[in-house]
Symmetry: C2
Subunit: 350 residues, 2 copies
């Protein structure tokens, strides 16, 4: 690992900010990240950090909107998520890792934007509606949770992001952001803020190892990024395949077969995967052989991630320093946006 000052260099030192499109992404700090996050977002973030000015938000403030009763969890996972970022290859010299709760301009813009969105509009937001339903909140929803689309609009616009990688279910959040952007621009009489586009991953959501649609740590069906070789072996062995595929000679189903879903996601040899699917469908290919292949791929994928994570975890002050540096840069960027927006709207400036 390279702990030299070079890794602390700011993206702005290499290229002017305007030269690269800005990406805002991040994660609520409610748990360490897992293989599902890797397939769905972390991998593409690593790929995008060369061509984009990328901000990764450790979203502890947003995590509080439905975890206010478990602040310790939110606190604990700030560094866990930062470690996950560094472990998968997020390079602080290219990407800016920053802590949401330490960026006052985000709260200030959030409070401002709340004046430009009605309660009825927030309640109509399909993402919010679904999440309220899923969490069983009813009318006892915390106000912060109802308001989080405005806070997300603040996050996105504060960084000047035009590209926001989100799952398909989060696309309405971007539309809500853009409504606020248009409202502000109309009041300002000029395009002070830019609209953002959702970048929706080509691959769908990675299922849990048990075949359930959502991989989650609390569901016990996730493979964490720091999983040990034994964890990986055990998870792949227990992985859901085709319950009707009892003998090797039986014809097997590929659809809904988690091993194939994972091979689609992680096996670089797509031609070989296509052949294996044909063979499995015909019969004569056992689950054991498939799992052996998948296990080897996952072991190879996760070994360097686990090693980098352990290296960074052994240097907590260095990691904290990286987050501090990133947050300091983010503070400048977001404060500049706040200043621009308030001036453009004609608020009093001391």
């Amino acid at each position: 690992m390279d702990f030299s000052p070079r890794t602390l260099a700011r993206p702005a030192d290499d290229a002017p900010a305007a030269a690269k499109p800005v990406i805002l992404t991040g994660d609520r700090t409610t748990g360490p990240l897992h293989l599902g996050h890797y397939a769905g977002s972390l991998k593409s973030r690593v790929a995008l950090q060369d061509s984009h000015d990328q901000f990764l938000l450790l979203a502890d403030a947003q995590a509080l909107t439905d975890n206010a009763q478990d602040i310790a969890k939110v606190r604990r996972n700030v560094i866990e998520v930062a470690l996950d970022y560094l472990a998968v290859g997020i390079d602080p010299a290219k990407s800016t890792i920053c802590l949401q709760s330490h960026l006052p301009a985000l709260a200030e813009l959030s409070m401002l934007y709340l004046n430009f969105v009605t309660v009825a509009r927030l309640e109509r937001n399909p993402t919010i509606k679904e999440e309220i339903r899923a969490r069983g909140f009813g009318r006892d929803i915390p106000a912060g949770f109802l308001c989080y689309p405005a806070a997300q609009a603040a996050d996105i616009t504060a960084f000047g992001a035009t590209v926001v990688p989100v799952g398909a279910d989060q696309a309405p959040m971007i539309e809500q952001t853009n409504e606020i952007v248009r409202r502000i621009n109309a009041l300002a009489g000029r395009p002070v803020l830019r609209e953002a586009s959702a970048l929706i991953p080509a691959t769908g959501r990675l299922p849990g190892v048990d075949g359930r649609a959502k991989m989650s740590k609390s569901g016990g069906n996730a493979l964490s990024l720091s999983a040990s070789p034994d964890d990986i072996r055990a998870a792949v062995r227990a992985m859901y395949t085709d319950p009707e595929h009892l003998r090797i000679t039986d014809a097997g189903r590929v659809e809904g077969n988690v091993v194939f879903t994972y091979l689609d996601a992680f096996d670089p040899d797509t031609e070989m995967v296509a052949d294996l699917k044909d063979h499995y469908r015909r019969g004569g290919l056992g689950d054991g052989a498939l799992k052996k292949r998948l296990e080897a791929i996952l072991q190879e994928l996760l070994a360097p991630i686990r090693a980098r994570r352990a290296d960074f975890a052994a240097h907590p002050d260095h990691v904290l320093g990286l987050v501090r540096e990133g947050t300091e840069r983010a503070r400048e960027v977001t404060a500049d946006t706040l200043e621009e927006v308030t001036r453009a709207l004609g608020l009093f400036r001391l």
Copy 2:
């Protein structure tokens, strides 16, 4: 007027902050203040500034919650309200005049507190319910307006205020603040925030000169603090009395008679006012004589206020400097509270 550095001295220089109870008060910057504000709050603020550490919030951010379409009005009135404070005798050496939108900790605490109050609770707030009704918002209420009790809780607690002068109709807002305070203290496991008490003025709301219950600039029935001698004369002449009191010899009604309401509010000779009421009720006392007395009292009251206001208005840089100084002090106080609250709750601190 004394423009010497002494007027810029901070209250903290004279006495430790803990020595005096803290008052938070202020006004939405939507218009210059008038005689109703003087009777209802400004006068007592001047009286309280010796015995209390008093913060006066120029509440431009709160003004936006229902004036987002008229930001120019909110901007323009920041200095108007500051001039009104100085004109009535608020002494920047004793009281801290500060600008809400320039205190990021208030927005940060607001966003935090929104996680500790439900949407249902905000909707049940009687003040909010009434104001939604009065403004005809329905469900199209701006989210910022629904959320403003949490923002007000942030204002009150950020300054460590235990005394909050409010009208009787605003008392539920203080209860809402205290609910949040108790929630935060329970989570923190110690009294990090203090509960506040409403200080409800003994005198009721001053009616408009036309007898309508509410004096307001937009209603055209207000006497502004910068009213000219002619304005004062004209307003008193047009003042609503007893429409049945046609001849001097007629018995007259004192209740609902605005001239008497104003004499009650402003005439220092309460015994004389009692005698005048008796006389008026018996008959034989004309409106003209009463109005002459009231006019003289108002001319005497408003002359020095008008003069001080004009003096300060002639030195805008000085006024701006006072607001800057006050805001700087308020920034420190509120940032300290934010730091205490976030540490007490166990949020991640970089």
